[in-house]
Symmetry: D2
Subunit: 416 residues, 4 copies
């Protein structure tokens, strides 16, 4: 009799294949689940492998649309970024995957969730917090934190030996000396040789972008149109046009890929308090974020923007990074994101070239906030220059008192 | 007898030459002042012109070192940026210029300050708030807000006619159809044809950077070493080395210039509430900021960084943009910047290539925060994976209640 | 022929009566407007006075319900407070008054707005920013900033002389040596003898609260019930019950009044940069705010609360204080307030006694966030104490590195 | 031979006496430590009990001065408060106690720390995070999270039985049906009957304050003088004067105690994510905090105050509550607190009366920020009212565009 029914996040790789077999041998029934969030994968082979190893079922769920519409576009709407550099590619995919896996578990009467995440990383936190929020009574088996499991598998050689012993097929291509995680938003690279933060990532590492040095010698022009802060149309110089969310985002990815846009190499602060080095290539999202920021310059009120930048962008980004998507505070902040975007409509013209994207111009038919006439130094139709005098004088009241005090204290502000 | 002694910020251009003559004809004595903050200028010609037009004196002050050390390096230390894009080049120069002009005024017994800033811009605010803070009793004559002056000079033709009438030499090179402001940190371009936010800046506009398309086909490698968050050494692949602040920053500018790094084109929100379009090329500061952010990833505590990003970087940047340098709140925030940088020591290896700068690796001899051993997924010497279980479970307490409530309300989190 | 049609905020006092006559004599037609926001007033006398002085019309608008429901209740929902002490009584009333006055102006074809606010205060800013936002093309006549008007009326004696000359009736009761502004939320006292910040307000100053020393010797018990953060029912120990917003708030005011609750005496920072001393008695709002904060402890998620406290409460309060009610940023923040209150349902039992209000207990039928079982130290049904070990150990990772660094630097944390 | 040397936080109560005996019987050597942070205690009896039960040593450390000067005064300087109500009395004491206990452990060659904190509370987190930061290699035994210990002692009866069996003296006074923690700053009450959040605390619960109903019928006047935000002198109406920190704070406590000032009853959000109900009486700190806030109104720049309120006060308070005192982020924030206080000098006159403290007036000899002349509505010597017009008009630019857009969208701001 089965000890229980486990829903395992299964990738087809050595780690999760080992976990699958380990669970089966321990007496569990295992339903495997894999999320298609846009990564390159031989899905038939994954399914075949899971079933041949003994999984009761292999469920592959296409989450691309959900991922793009609910997470990636939200990130664009709030210019999400973590620690000034990281566009949160992995963090964005975790909520949709975790939610889908709970659905699969429920449909298949599993009461235990399992994954192959390491015990030091962010992903274990993201998956498990999500699972516990979504289905508060769920049980979790995290093999890489299980004393018996980690005692048995102390390194890759133990995994390979176990695979040999148990007929787990092992890929003949040698494993890259780093680990990768790919989805539509980005590919991440960490661990292995990248753990030396002063070691430059090798040229062959990057998967979703060509090397800027190898990118075309000619800029590539295109435009992105937004409605309520969401990209709704991309048109390129060679008249490719996309409007459906997944297709549109793929087109942005292609533009970014071909022109080498969106590579980032950082040391970041994981939720659990360790620093780690990560490399990311994020072609389409890098471009879309730049365009969105640019358009907001044209159509968003400056005070709203200042509040949003300080409180919403940083907070939402941190919530996503830390795995707090299924939380009241994320819902609270996201309500503000959506509200802030009601007038973010317009088109940004752009160019991609050898590692960079540039804005070339922007326009909006629905916003009155920018006015050439108002902005023009030559036009005084709508502006009384004398008002600026009063504005300055009133703003100076506090500052004059500050200067007087400095003089009284013997440290006048004339001194450097 | 003189009606008073005016200290005029004089650039040698048509506007300030007109103001100079206008003031002299109105009966004032005028001491001209021009700040050398690294812009390209024929200083002898400026001096000769001012004196020939009747200025009592033309004082040229070299502020490059003060500018770089006190403002530019502070901006680097806090990763200063305004509205996600603008590195504040003009804003950074204003405080040192304003302060020097007050010094010149005092040394020359002037009790009236004057400038040629327009009545709709940020610079009038920055100069005048600074002057009033530094010398609270100073008087100000702002011609472009003076009803008589603006009635007399309603357009460029009026200025040209006045110049002809009064023997003011006018440059024979035609004026660019935009205005520019240059200093060591950047060159800004605005107004004129740029007032159409959808018009791409022409290729010849940019002054401090070559067009990325024309940049070398080969990456250029170099490294920047920081102490307490301040760049103290730059070494290039061809063994050019700089350590003196101004020389070091010039070297970064040259690297950025040659490789087309640091062009930005935005619509921004001026302090006075108008939107305006600005283009900026900021070669060295763009590179130094990127390197500094990168190094902080390695050596700054994550929680300190989060607080600094949210409260210090955004606040200091806004203060500088709005002309609030000489204020108690800027001193308050700057105290935090300096404190945050005590351990920001190390070297970042970089590459510049066709419009972009990339980090290649980073190292620090003084920080224990990053540890390959800690970060490694394979090493459990300093880490008990079981702790992560407790960490996750405790963090999940709130989230489980949230999920239970959603279930009770009939909107379970399994739903998209 | 009339020079124009002015809509004047008219109170019946000496200042606005003088402005009325001044405008009429200058050739304007004047429609007077007075808002009933709950202050004590002889409305018939005000109307009679305005008409007898020559106003074309005297419009008295009852705004009590609008004021309580749209402003006061919103302030309660976000625990609004300015500079830790001031509950914003005056600031809350200004938006409804300003909006109503624009309506009156439009209904009566007035294109000029006028008020009797001084040129150094907050209220001029609040009224005029509101008017300009609501009706961007409106014209404004602010007599106390008008050079001719202030030259003519340099002190109270000039006003009295003008009144005598022009048949303006002057109250025979001597003017209090301070100025007051009353509405349903509070009464404010400032200027005159209060300008000395070390002078204790005299016993007779306070209007909306009895002196705590004279309050009953016996506590008074009552309860407040909230739905979505809004008070919907008050029941007292003597079975008085109120549910209609205005009646409910009046009942809270009476409880606060009788028991001397809500007196505040502060020096605050006006928007225009001057410090000023203000005294306020705010009986009902003080009580309601305390009850609301208390209930949120029971029913609001802790992380949502932390975000709300830091970003929403402080920001909304400052926006209201500075007269930025009719602004995109206030709408942006208010959207968050409302969202945060969806589960703030329950009842707070309270007691008022000699200057203070105390919470006695609280309960909610709709929230699962507080659980006696969870909270109890004795119950381990829903809690594994071992999890706390992991939680602590993971949180300690950063701190141990910090401690190690301190030891390495020779300043161990064992030292004080 | 001893299994190890434990340094146990020992209070003399049933719990820690049981832990002491349990450890001794298990084969450990135990050094007991108790911190005198101002609580009422028979120190000789505690020492005698520890030694008689078998402790190798009982170390009692007087931390009152360290506690008041380094923690309580810092809390006053930043107006520390948690969730709008709680003045952090327990949280403030933990850092000095934890640090002293590490010192005792080191002096007595103990390598294991122990405490009697429960497994659901904040204090275990505060002590252990502190210990791990201060001495990163220290070991910890937390009995109430130890499976064997909690299996053995499942309720108070188990403890009493064990006490009887092992000759542990048990107090003959019946235990109050709640738990208490007392120090100079406050006494806290939680658990037991208080776990019902709707149960009013009984009259006899409060220890550090008299019932407001029983407080004197006459107000009590006194003044507090601050230097750099720290109270340096208290003088009362009956000429009691204190200047030494501990004596001064005791005097404030006495004033607060006698007049029933500082009672708070709340439901709060513990760091570990549970809500719990706590009652606190905090007499002296409540008074000092109010006085300090009041003085800042007079002498602190408004913009500095706004930044400090939003970023420093809330952050430092949360850090202390969560046990993050020994952290880089607390040092970072505390640096700002100290900087902000350089001009917070002056005297606040106050009155305490039946549960409340009131400010009566305030003065400062070192600040120029408040000026009666500036504040006065009657004085225009230092103020041009016309400047306010410009200030308003410039601030209105954005708002007018907002209003225009609303009109264009068919939702004019005239509508409620």
């Amino acid at each position: 009799m089965s000890l229980g029914r486990v829903c395992l996040a299964y990738s087809g790789g050595l780690d999760t294949s080992t976990i699958l077999v380990y669970l089966l041998k321990a007496g569990y029934t295992v339903v495997c689940m894999c999320a298609d969030v846009g990564q390159e994968e031989d899905w038939a082979a994954v399914e075949q492998k899971a079933l041949s190893l003994g999984a009761e079922k292999m469920v592959i769920v296409d989450l691309k649309k959900e991922f793009v519409e609910q997470l990636v576009f939200r990130a664009i709407q709030c210019n999400a970024i973590f620690e000034d550099r990281y566009l949160l590619g992995t963090s964005l995919a975790r909520p949709v995957i975790a939610r889908a896996q709970v659905r699969v578990a429920k449909e298949n009467n599993c009461d235990i969730m399992s994954h192959g995440c390491t015990g030091k990383g962010n992903d274990q936190v993201r998956f498990e917090l999500a699972w516990k929020a979504i289905e508060p009574t769920i049980k979790i088996f995290a093999p890489w934190r299980d004393p018996a499991f980690i005692a048995k598998f102390q390194g890759r050689n133990d995994l390979l030996a176990y695979a040999k012993e148990n007929g787990i097929p092992v890929s003949s291509t040698p494993k890259a000396p780093w680990s990768m995680d790919e989805n539509m938003a980005h590919c991440s690279y960490e661990a292995g040789i990248l753990e030396n933060p002063d070691r430059t990532p090798p040229k062959e590492l990057w998967k979703m972008t060509v090397d800027p040095l190898d990118a075309p010698d000619k800029p590539y022009n295109f435009s992105i149109t937004f409605e309520k802060g969401i990209p709704v149309k991309v048109v390129t110089e060679d008249n490719i046009e996309a409007t459906e969310p997944v297709e549109l985002f793929k087109l942005l990815n292609k533009i970014g890929h071909d022109n080498g846009v969106g590579r980032v190499d950082i040391v970041e602060n994981r939720f659990i308090g360790l620093k780690s080095r990560g490399c990311y290539d994020t072609p389409g999202l890098t471009i879309a974020r730049l365009a969105h920021i640019d358009l907001e310059g044209l159509v968003m009120d400056g005070q709203v923007r200042a509040l949003r930048d300080q409180f919403v962008t940083l907070t939402w980004s941190r919530q996503l990074y830390n795995g707090m998507y299924f939380s009241p505070e994320r819902e609270f902040v996201e309500n503000s994101i959506i509200y802030s975007q009601q007038n973010v409509n317009g088109t940004v013209r752009m160019m991609a070239y050898k590692g960079n994207a540039y804005t070339l111009g922007r326009s909006s038919e629905t916003s009155n906030l920018y006015s050439e006439d108002d902005a023009s130094m030559d036009s005084l139709d709508t502006f009384s220059p004398g008002d600026a005098t009063g504005f300055i004088n009133i703003n100076a009241i506090r500052l004059q008192k500050f200067g007087e005090m400095k003089i009284a204290q013997g440290t006048p502000l004339t001194e450097s």
